[in-house]
Symmetry: C2
Subunit: 351 residues, 2 copies
DNA sequence: TTGAAAGCGTTACCAG
DNA sequence: CTGGTAACGCTTTCAA
């Protein structure tokens, strides 16, 4: 008989409390350690013992307490996933892939949804309190936040972001390359005057895209460029297009939008507000290759990110770092795919 | 000096391990219980003590271990959120609202993303192991799963679903009422022949919508009805519309689709595949009122669910049940709003 | 207000 | 292979 002070509900399982390994041990007539081993992976337990324990456990509805396990093993088997604007059309797919991949590896996802990329301060504290084994973030951290996280020795993987002056793991789509392709195609198809619809200021992705486009436009000797900016999203896209027209007086040959959602907004505003035909009167391109970009009414010319591969790569990278904390930082960049939709006048692919 | 067997890293904080309340206590020259109290809500601690502890804690980068706390308090402060198809256009907004609301209350979200509604079996086990305080689910549970959950005394709130023969909490949008409105409007505007694009078979929401529409069509004496079915989503919508046309030979007056995404698919297929003008030749309506339904090229006539209110209501309902487990089950039904888009020929609102 | 000590439900280590 | 016992880091009586 165990010397351990008994728990309050040993009087017949009528209580509200859940069964513990002690309850199972008693019911099966074995030691508590034995029960523990039966529910572990590399267990050493005879078949006979295993059967008795499992039977007792089932009868009592016993499940190992992952919280208690985490306390002793120093592994919560939870990772934090940080995402800024969940309604972004693009992130749901990322999130789905991530949770799926983590879940295959027996890792649970603690979700932190930020209103804006800058809101990370409170959540960093939460993540640390919950002792997540790793962090996968699609939002920026400040140097101070990174220091806090590093001090706690928690591996971090950035998704489509990176931190300057700081060695970090990241998985990203090469935004600049993508913009370069778009610009090249547009210029070679004869476009000479450009509008650029820039994304929100606090988004690194947005500024990479803008710089990528601007640099390549400069390379190609294009100088007639008008830039307007706003949040991501459809409504903003429409409004930005109006501002663009107001600023220029007439339509540019092509508009490069920071996201598909903005591109779609531009297309609608061009058609409805200015009676422009897309792509006959104006070419409009986006970025991401998300679902609605494929809707027939838009069929946006865009760069599709290999979301699935990126997400899986990011998850694997984080898991590796959790298992082996001394791995050095690594950056993986994926190329997007040019989607020749019908929202831009490009030369045909085989030309 | 504490009698407690010291931890391995008391030799000067150079180790990799995180600071514990013992470390802080030693650094501040107080007892460990004191540290604990300083980091609690209804604490009783003198200002002097509080200051010393906080100072020491900051120096050591101490954060209370939420896992250990959960073990002793029997409250993980985590809820499970179960969502079936995250890429559904509709769920991201729900998820964003939920996490926001929970986070305000100091509750963390453990996300379980299912591929299909039927995949809940493995995740139920996980939720129980992690001792979540409550479950909010936008996927169905089997009676067996519910029994498991009930045995563990974990409160559950269903989102847009309910369980027959089982008293459960739920928050839903009245799908049948919504379909009734759509049907009424369409019939009163003169539509007499109908196509119904049904959602996936394992979705309760989908079948409620279908039944709502069928019942009201019967009430209105409409008999010319063709039903085709498929998964939710744009591509399926297009394909379903083709099948509908093939089955009927000619276009019906109106098509009632199970979701906005399917409605959008129908619109594109009607236009591109059959050269039909929407809404002149055919009226097409959807359900949900999600973002892309508002894109100008579609402007879907639909029922908008009050997602924000629903999500907040669901979160509150669950929190109440966590705080007071004996509250009786409660069902809340919200009415949607008819959005008079331009994808259907309705009479004007003030007629 | 403060401190000592007893758990919370596991896993890890160590004899047998 | 099995059982006993010491942590894991915290909250919670209970005395002082």
């Amino acid at each position: 008989m165990s010397k351990r002070p008994k728990t309050a509900n040993n009087t017949g399982m009528t209580g509200r409390k859940r069964a513990t390994s002690y309850d199972v041990a008693k019911a099966a007539g074995v030691s508590q350690s034995a029960v523990s081993r039966v529910f572990q992976d590399g267990a050493s337990a005879s078949k006979a013992m295993r059967d008795r324990v499992v039977a007792a456990a089932n009868k009592l509805g016993y499940r190992p307490n992952a919280i208690a396990r985490g306390l002793i093993t120093q592994r919560s088997n939870m990772v934090a996933v940080v995402i800024s604007k969940l309604t972004n059309l693009y992130y749901p797919e990322v999130l789905e892939q991530l949770t799926q991949r983590f879940s295959e590896q027996g890792i649970r996802v603690l979700l932190f949804a930020l209103e804006h990329e800058g809101d990370a301060d409170k959540v960093v504290d939460q993540m640390l309190q919950y002792r997540v084994d790793g962090i996968l973030t699609a939002a920026m951290f400040t140097p101070g936040q990174m220091k806090t996280i590093d001090n706690a020795h928690i591996p971090v993987v950035f998704y489509n972001r990176t931190l300057k002056n700081h060695q970090v793991c990241s998985v990203r789509c090469d935004q600049e390359e993508g913009e370069r392709w778009l610009v090249d195609e547009l210029v070679r198809a004869g476009h000479r005057t450009f509008g650029i619809i820039e994304g929100p200021a606090d988004s690194v992705v947005a500024s990479e895209r803008k710089m990528g486009a601007l640099n390549e436009l400069a390379n190609m000797g294009i100088t007639d460029i008008t830039i307007v900016s706003g949040e991501y999203g459809y409504e903003t896209g429409r409004e930005c297009f109006s501002r663009l027209m107001a600023r220029r007086g007439s339509a540019p040959d092509a508009v490069i939008a920071a996201s598909d959602a903005m591109a779609i907004g531009c297309i609608d505003e061009a058609r409805e507000g200015y009676a422009l035909k897309v792509p006959d009167d104006i070419s409009i391109v986006g970025f991401d290759g998300v679902g609605p970009a494929r809707f027939a009414a838009y069929d946006v010319t865009t760069i599709r990110q290999p979301v699935k591969r990126m997400a899986q790569s990011a998850a694997s990278m984080l898991i590796e770092r959790i298992e082996n904390p001394d791995l050095s930082p690594e950056k993986r960049a994926f190329s997007g795919t040019l989607i020749r939709g019908s929202s831009a006048r490009l030369r045909s692919a085989d030309e």
